[in-house]
Amino acid sequence: MLTLHRKLLRDLAGLKGQVAAIAVVIAGGVMTLMISVTSLDAIRLSMDRFYATHQLGDVFASVNRAPEVIAERLREIPGINLVETRVVAPVRLEVPGFDDPVRGTLLSVPDGRQPSLNRLHLVAGSLPESGRANQVVVSEPFAEAHGLGMGDRLRVIIRGRYETLVISGIALSPEFIYQVAPTDLLPDYERYAVMWMNRRALGNAFAMDGAFNSVVASVQAGASTASVIEHLDRLLAPYGGIGAHDREDLMSHRILQEEIAQLRVMAVVLPGVFLGVSAFLLSVLMGRIVNTQRQQIAVIKAFGYDDRDLAVHYALLTGLMVAVGVALGIALGSITGDLMAALYAEYFRFPETVTRLQLRVVVLAALVAAFAAGLGTFRSVAAAVRLPPAQAMRPPAPEQFRQGWMDRTAAGQWLAQTTRIILRNLSRHRLKSAMTITGIGLSGALLLLGSYQFNAVTHMIDTQYRKVLKMDTHVTFIEPTSAHVLAELRALPGVHYAEGYRSVPVRLRNGHLSERNAIEGLPASPQLRGLVDRSLRPIELPADGLFMTDFLADQLELRPGDRVLVEIMEGRRRVLEMTLAGTVDEPLGLGTYMRLDALNALMREGPAITGAWLLSDPDRRDALYARLWDAPRVAGIGMISQAEDGLRQYMEDTVLVLMSILLLLAGSITFALVYNNARIAFAERARELATLRVLGFTRAQVGWVLIGEIALLTLLALPVAWLLGTLFAWLLSLAFSMDMIRIPFHITHQSYAFAAAGVLVASLLSVVLIARRLRHLDMVAALKSIE
């Protein structure tokens, strides 16, 4: 069957433009599938392995101060396995040669040895030696950000006292795979450090001798985590416990889970769209190839080839196109997959990134692509094979046309004959026209989707930093502080305005649903912290009742007016019932808000605040930070503008990079579709067009028959593109709604215009290429044979 195969290769070579176009689309599908599955796999496996090898705890609890003897009682809790008590201290530190304030969390490890839970992975050096008070292990990303190495010194302020610590080791922890400061959403390795030192030394420095303020525990297999948490809460409540939680509320784990969820969505949606489009393209192309090869098929059958031979022949043709696409996709996928892995390695710190055998992904991608292609080609091949040879050899009967509105209405009489040809063709081939319009519409929809992502993310960041966080500096205090401190803050250099807030850790419950959160008490109409509704109008807080982020309300299945149980996890712990007064629309994080005075009353305290927001003069910020730095009650300083830059950077790094790839692919699909369509239309109609030329029509008139059809189909496809694109965007915004970040369903006119422009440019390019072919239309040759 060698010669038949040779025909296959020559056919492919002859169709190279079209094959390339389809291959690009298949490659897009394979590539997105590979990127998302590889990344998904890498994160999940690396996470699982790190957790398992370094014994990440199952339950975490914080207290004010509990005596170490309590530890024994904790070990007796039914279902609990290992218990590790420790001291966790918020610190500030100075890094030589770095001027900005740096926050840090200092955790204790048992003197001179690894803890039984949350063990450290030492990248370099060793744990602090037993009995040494000044040795510290720092987290790897922090060390990298400052170029720190073994033996380097850090000045750390613990409880207002300077300590000089020497780095003995550099480590990673399964607790801080995503290493982010308590109030932040994104890592800032320069300005936030995680460090570990000996228990005794830290206990001394932090006034925790013979006591602890943090517990990590593991749960026995089969035991109930919820019951362990309940026991822990009961035992720790007298010592200021603010509620134990499981891994789901561990920041690092939560972010990892969200990333995994996002990748899952991506692994289905994007390859699905691309492969769907390629299946569609392949079915159109194969249908038309089979049509143009009608006579060849007949001849081959006349020679005595049977249906199976032909089916195999055309299946191989499809298979080869798929193979080219898959190969291209794998090449692109492994390049971009490595890029993505490097990107993830920046945000998620694993000791080793486990990349499982790629073959599985490759095979999966090839199978999915082949399946999509098979779906697209099956019909055409089946039709080709069914054709009785004698019938195939006869020239096809003239297609059946009927008189329509054009012939009956006055307007119809005005149409030129060439325009009639276009309209009759389109209405004769309604299914084909509808498929083409849908196809071009789909690719336009992809363009819209890409553009939506660009704009929505920008819109989200703008909302967050122009409407919600209007401050430039965020100060947190070690403990609740009198509101008088605001006057002191206002007197600091460069401060234009200061506003205080009170944050109280709570657990919100509605039936079986619960969520750990913090209520923020704000002034009635906060100036620096915007609360806005869906149309970005400011909200005034009522005298009582709660407001919460609408996403949180949805998660708790609460609507304004509903009652919600609020378990106060600080000071005198109580459970209250409160009313949800309304919701606010915030793209980032989950928040609960109420009036500051009402919250102070609830806590049975005077006007107290736990943090403040400042609006300051950018030129005098260094002086301001220096003063804040020295204030003993200040626990941390957040630089909001830096956080904004960080967020924009993160978005640029991940979402936008991904979306640029998507946009590029969508553009090439659009072109592939329109160009393919035009090429095939040209091949099918060459004889008809040549006949028109023979009859004396000008080139322009003949060109119009073809180009007018493309133009009309393109124009009809635009509304379809907008409609489908809007639907895709809506689905994507639903799929990408997460605790940390929600991408708003916000499509601008520019996005619609962009999608339309993309489709039109692709059409125009195709028309230019086809016009070149039209110029070389050989009238005589086209008329001589009945091919």
Partner: protein, 245 residues
């Protein structure tokens, strides 16, 4: 004019035997009665020319005899094998093993060279000639690596003949083999067909509307309106070189 069937001069084996063949098919919105009860025998080794105007049903008859199409009514036998009412699979095998086709428009596979256009048939034949040998027989050994687009119409038709005979078929069916050619080239093609018939003894049927070609046949069958209208035997087969149109 209807005459009695002409008996072969010497008793020869019947290769094809058709009785009461009818064919009705639809083309677009039109129903065509292409054949209305044809009786016909073809004998081993003879060269038959079937004449008829366009629409007389001659192509349909050829297609049915070649297993490309099936009759609506009637029986058709090839040697002792029934061809009417058999499955597509059997028709395919019949074509593969016994029939060589030559078409009016050559029907080359454009993406294959002359040699490959022949190889595509010899690939699936039992005891074929080598493609080079077949090309040699039609005098085109020097053009074997040319693509159809690089060959003239006459050359393409000669390649088509080489392709048809390369499998050593029992019967060669030619549908208007000179229809798309000028007379000089046409005669050359007919000489090749005649040569094959003489040398290899392949039973050959040529259908044409060109009366002149009838002179090179052992026997001439005229079709009209889907029926055999007249049949006669030539006393002497004319050399194609003598033909003029």
């Amino acid at each position: 004019m209807v005459t009695a069937p002409v008996q072969p001069s010497t008793k020869r084996e019947v290769v094809f035997s058709a009785r009461g063949i009818s064919k009705v098919y639809r083309m677009g919105e039109v129903t065509i009665h292409a054949l209305r009860g044809v009786d016909l025998d073809l004998y081993a080794g003879e060269l038959v020319v079937m004449l008829g105007a366009s629409g007389s049903g001659k192509s349909t008859l050829l297609n049915i005899m070649g297993g490309l199409d099936s009759a609506s009514e009637g029986t058709l036998r090839y040697r002792d094998q029934a061809l009417s009412g058999v499955s597509d699979r059997e028709l395919t095998r019949f074509r593969r093993e016994h029939v060589g086709f030559v078409f009016q428009f050559y029907n080359m596979i454009p993406s294959l060279t002359a040699r490959e256009n022949i190889a595509i048939v010899t690939d699936i034949a039992d005891n074929p000639m080598r493609p080079e040998e077949a090309l040699d027989l039609v005098g085109l050994a020097d053009r074997m690596d040319h693509f159809p687009s690089q060959l003239s119409g006459g050359e393409q038709q000669r390649v088509a003949i080489a392709r048809a005979i390369a499998k050593r078929p029992a019967v060669l069916l030619c549908d208007e083999p000179t229809g798309a050619l000028d007379s000089k080239t046409g005669i050359k093609v007919l000489q090749v067909i005649e040569h094959i018939n003489e040398e290899i003894g392949t039973t050959t049927a040529i259908i044409t509307h060109n009366e002149v070609i009838g002179r090179m046949a052992d026997r001439v069958i005229r079709l009209k309106d889907g029926r055999v209208d007249e049949e006669h035997r030539n006393d002497r087969r004319a050399d194609p070189a003598e033909l003029k149109w």
